[in-house]
């Protein structure tokens, strides 16, 4: 029997199997996005997906949509140019924690501050997987990585709190275990406008799990299962991740704020009620 996977229409199947390791959560986060894209029934040609560098950055290369695999950390300013250059586009940024928050941190805070109309999905696997598992700005205090062999002595970012503070209009966190809720959240994000952010906690069994007593892919999901608490409308300040406390997931923020293009068109094209189209 010849059957076709339902996501194949959105995939460059000639490039599958992908490069990610067995059990890597990026694949799950990716398939949640594909499920949401299919469910949304939005026109596929309006999507433009922008990634940076790293394991997660490779998502762009497997998607059969307009997809841009840019430089390390620069997915957001590239996406900003795409969106402002053609406001009709539904611009999605899909990248990793190191890419978006270490090298790209400055771009994140400014894109959110401006409220550029972008859906931003960050796969957080707590380390730099592509280069072999170095410490990231999201590595929990005490966790072991290739560059913190005795344990991490830095405090990680609380990404939902950060996104909230800099102005994101939608902020949620899910894990790759919560695929249905994650898919629903992504679909919800496609219905909103403005700078929207979902942090997706994901296993990197190869580089991070191995060093932190979660060798098998399933160990990480079991860990999420044991530690995660779903709480909607929680205070993002409670979303800090450490090695002891429960991990809060859910939708933290869902608010309205005029986007950059809203304000721009109000000032320069007040007669049009639609978004201003450049050129």
């Amino acid at each position: 029997m010849k059957s076709v996977h339902p996501y194949d229409e959105l995939l460059r199947t000639d490039r599958i199997p992908h490069i990610w390791c067995p059990g890597c959560g990026i694949g799950t986060a990716f398939s949640s996005m594909l499920a949401a894209i299919k469910e949304s029934a939005l026109p596929l040609e309006d999507f433009a997906v922008v990634s940076g560098i790293g394991c997660t950055g490779r998502v762009a290369g497997y998607l059969k949509l307009d997809s841009f695999h840019t430089t390390h950390g620069r997915a957001l300013p590239f996406a900003t140019g795409l969106k402002l250059g053609n406001p009709r586009l539904n611009v999605v940024t899909f990248s990793g924690d190191g890419d978006l928050f270490a090298i790209g941190g400055n771009h994140f805070i400014h894109a959110a501050r401006r409220n550029i109309d972008l859906a931003v999905f960050c796969v957080n696997n707590f380390n730099y997987g592509m280069t072999g598992g170095q410490v990231a700005p999201t590595t929990p205090y005490g966790a072991k990585t290739a560059t913190t062999p005795m344990g991490n002595d830095e405090w990680p970012f609380n990404l939902p709190l950060l996104a909230y503070a800099v102005g994101a209009v939608y902020v949620a966190r899910w894990t790759t275990l919560h695929v249905r809720r994650l898919t629903d959240a992504i679909r919800e994000v496609f219905d909103r406008r403005g700078f929207r952010f979902i942090e997706i906690l994901a296993p990197c069994p190869t580089a991070y799990g191995r060093r932190n007593r979660m060798k098998a892919p399933l160990d990480v999901l079991k860990y999420f299962e044991a530690r995660v608490r779903v709480r909607h409308d929680a205070d993002p300040a409670e979303a800090q991740i450490d090695l002891e406390s429960p991990i809060v997931v859910g939708k933290f923020v869902d608010r309205k704020r005029p986007t950059f293009l809203d304000l721009w068109s109000k000032r320069y094209a007040p007669d049009e009620d639609e978004e201003v189209h450049v050129a």
Partner: protein, 95 residues
């Protein structure tokens, strides 16, 4: 799997007809992570002695008739290696 449910159960679950599904496994894409097996709400899948060409341990749908077409395996699979589809039911079983 006890405790947390990762699939929402509709409130009218008992009233509506239970959908029946069938899983398709693309063994060549599978990397043997076991997520689909561990988190299938109906325990449809198991490892057997089947391995794919790359040596990954692949799941088999041993309790195929239990599948309710919830698509959970389909989305959690990081490798696009499994999906479920509905088996159309004859009208008369409808409650």
């Amino acid at each position: 799997m006890e405790g947390v449910k990762f699939w929402r159960k509709p409130l009218d679950w008992e009233m509506i007809q239970v959908t029946r599904g069938r899983v398709h496994i693309f063994e060549d894409r599978c990397k043997g992570c076991g997520y689909c097996i561990a988190y299938c709400p109906r325990d449809v899948l198991s490892f057997t002695d089947r391995f794919n060409r790359k040596g990954y341990h692949v799941p088999s749908a041993l309790k195929e008739e239990e599948c309710v077409n919830c698509h959970f395996c389909e989305i959690i699979c990081p490798d696009f290696a499994i999906y479920s589809e509905e088996i159309p039911q004859p009208k008369e079983i409808e409650l």
